[in-house]
């Protein structure tokens, strides 16, 4: 197998150019897909027979919840890579993606809370999923806070890596513990309703919006990583050329 791509990935310059090629298409294509999915879901999917129209929140809620989790997984991997292989781009990834993940977790919380009002009659219950998303949000805040508080870059990177990694190990434990705790005490009515498999016309728009959000966030991540790379490599010659080059 040819590993040269992997070593190239370690090179900020190569990454910067690669991301320059793929970043914008991803962002705009993702946004388009997302809008299509949401528009479709809002306007054309049939209403749910139990929840009526409030279920339409699903088209933002689920993609965002899924992404919040995926992003954290990414952080954990990047944390491990930072500590073990000390690849230059891994901490850049952590710094760039943590805020994206935090926003996703935040939207998941807010959309879930709003959705809860008509369906459960309350904004918040101490349900397993909700609690674990809340914790996830806290984890993101921890990573962001540590990046922002520590001015020394090397230290900040290490610290953020430690937090991301430990958080990832902990995430399944939290999920499990919370689910277990909740099933002991929560009446089943609070569990997310297990509906029969969704009809196609409900499911397709969801697929679109989920896919769209993924691509959108990937693009954003590339942009943010580019920013970070520029900042970190500001002393390198290629950055100088890059910055001074585009229309002085």
């Amino acid at each position: 197998m040819n590993w040269s791509w992997f070593h190239k990935l370690g090179s900020p310059k190569w990454f910067y150019q690669w991301a320059g090629r793929w970043g914008s298409p991803c962002v705009y294509l993702g946004a388009l897909l997302l809008l299509i999915g949401i528009g479709w879901g809002l306007g054309f999917a049939p209403a749910d027979y139990q929840q009526g129209n409030s279920f339409r929140i699903i088209y933002i809620h689920v993609p965002v919840a899924v992404l919040a989790q995926s992003c954290y997984l990414g952080l954990g991997v990047a944390g491990l890579v930072t500590l073990v292989w000390q690849m230059k781009l891994a901490p850049v990834f952590i710094k760039a993606v943590a805020p994206i993940g935090a926003v996703m977790a935040f939207i998941a919380l807010v959309s879930g809370a709003i959705w809860g009002k008509p369906t459960w009659g309350t904004w918040w219950v101490w349900d397993a999923r909700l609690t674990s998303v809340l914790v996830l949000f806290l984890l993101y805040m921890g990573v962001i806070a540590i990046q922002n508080t520590i001015e020394d870059r090397v230290f900040a990177d290490k610290a953020a890596a430690v937090v991301s990694l430990v958080g990832t190990i902990n995430l399944p434990i939290i999920k499990y513990s919370v689910e277990w705790w909740n099933t002991l005490h929560q009446p089943a009515t609070f569990k997310l309703t297990e509906k029969p498999a969704m009809p196609m016309e409900m499911w397709l728009p969801l697929l679109f919006s989920a896919l769209g959000l993924y691509v959108f966030c990937a693009g954003l991540a590339m942009w943010r990583m580019q920013n970070e790379v520029l900042h970190r490599e500001r002393r390198a010659n290629w950055v100088k050329k890059e910055v001074m080059g585009d229309g002085v």
Partner: protein, 220 residues
């Protein structure tokens, strides 16, 4: 410097200072007495909630005890000395955390029966609470140690510390109180205890390594 001398000095420091320890204990007592005062002094409210209250108090006081664990060592230059010695930083962290655990836990365990009876916890449950404490608190200390190490060099970085540690404490509290509740209902609870023990073991392994990385990064 060698490991034995280090262990002895940590021990001596905690005994000599007393304050940190006593602070943690006092905090513990205070949280527990606040509940009957602030919420309700009824046995019907307190008895079922007792396990939870005790564990919340424990978590908070451990947090207090652990928070500034390395702060003095940072400001008086001891961390630098740890790094220049040829001893393994992970072992030093391990020893220090273990000593802290012992010094806080023993008095806490000693006053537990008194406090438990103030909360109308049935005597036969006190044993269960004790076991959960013994199995669960190491995880809290060791995870806390990571947070403390990460934030030593930050000028009062306790917020971060809380943010980082809180998610790590939640499973411990859930399983511990779960075990107590199961015991209250007469159900088996060895599963929860096993998980608690597993969490503590995991923390024992991860934490010294992670804390050592953080300490190393914060000496500048």
């Amino acid at each position: 410097m060698n490991y034995r001398a280090f262990l002895k000095s940590e021990w001596l420091g905690l005994i000599r200072r007393k304050q940190d320890t006593l602070n943690a204990i006092l905090f513990f007592v205070m949280v527990i007495t606040l509940f009957p005062l602030g919420v309700s002094p009824d046995a019907s409210f307190l008895a079922p909630a007792a396990g939870g209250i005790i564990w919340c108090a424990t978590a908070l006081s451990i947090l207090m005890a652990v928070e500034g664990m390395y702060k003095e060592d940072y400001s008086d230059g001891s961390l630098e000395q740890w790094l220049t010695s040829s001893l393994s930083l992970s072992w030093l962290v391990f020893i220090k955390t273990l000593v802290h655990w012992l010094v806080v836990l023993v008095p806490l365990v000693c006053i537990l029966p008194v406090l438990a009876s103030m909360l109308f916890l049935p005597m036969d449950l006190v044993g269960v609470v004790l076991v959960t404490l013994l199995l669960g608190t190491p995880a809290m200390f060791f995870f806390g140690s990571i947070g403390a190490a990460l934030t030593v060099s930050l000028r009062r970085g306790a917020v971060l510390m809380l943010l980082i540690i809180m998610p790590l404490y939640i499973p411990v509290i859930i399983f511990a109180t779960g075990a107590i509740r199961a015991a209250q209902l007469g159900m088996p609870f060895s599963g929860q205890l096993a998980i608690l023990a597993a969490l503590s073991l995991m923390s024992l392994v991860i934490s010294p390594v992670m804390a050592a990385i953080s300490i190393k990064a914060s000496v500048k």
